[in-house]
Symmetry: none
Subunit: 80 residues, 4 copies
């Protein structure tokens, strides 16, 4: 008979995993209010993903009001 055991289910997509780690780091105070986050390029290299994937993670936090972008400078934890 075939093995009827449960399949390995797909994990959260990479962009969500990255978003979750950033959220954790911010929640734990690693990036206080006003702090600059790692650049998109750094995130790409850290996690081995394409830039659009890193950006999705950052945009997800932005949509939650947690961070904001300052074009030409970087991404920052929103102040108060």
């Amino acid at each position: 008979m075939i093995d009827p055991g449960p399949l390995e289910r797909p994990k959260d997509p990479p962009w969500r995993q990255i978003a979750d780690r950033l959220r954790d780091a911010i929640a734990k105070g690693a990036y206080p209010s006003g702090a600059k986050l790692p650049s998109e390029k750094t995130l790409c290299e850290t996690y081995g993903v394409a830039r659009m994937t890193a950006r999705r993670a950052l945009e997800n936090l932005r949509d939650d009001g947690v961070i904001e972008s300052r074009p030409g400078i970087g991404w920052f934890v929103r102040e108060g």
Copy 2:
């Protein structure tokens, strides 16, 4: 700092996991030459996937020449 550990990478997609289990079962003699495999519907229920996903697994084995479909009847391990 953010956790720089590796992301959880996607496992094999469900259709491939199912195909692999079917291949194993056939190789182990659970479905000898000419035997009828579980129906697409049964595979769907066993693994909790959509029908197209079960189909893709079966088509994968067919493309490898391991099984064949007899429309309206089912999928069978190829003879000879």
Copy 3:
């Protein structure tokens, strides 16, 4: 002397122009509550853009609560 006249300024990016046209069409009743919007592929062909550009437009409307996606089916004007 050089011409000191004003430069031609960049227009809204394509994704925003597409989003604005969709918003207009919905506001004018071309897509009533519950209606299915053109597929991403259709938007690509209509406007000559890459799929990610068409998607950005749709995601912008989704973030505004105007439409929602039903994976495997399409994008729909939100009911109620």
Copy 4:
């Protein structure tokens, strides 16, 4: 229905528009061989762009062999 008309496509980028105007002015004799061009700062103010944008226009003409920079002094139409 949505408006299927063509999108407004991006014009030439500002740095190219400025480069083109400089080229025109030189071709028309407004800046003869050896003449000093407007400073980067002046170009910024004239056109309302950032300094790197004005610089890129000048570097474009330099790469074409039309002008040259004398660091600390300015940009000049190349002689001979």
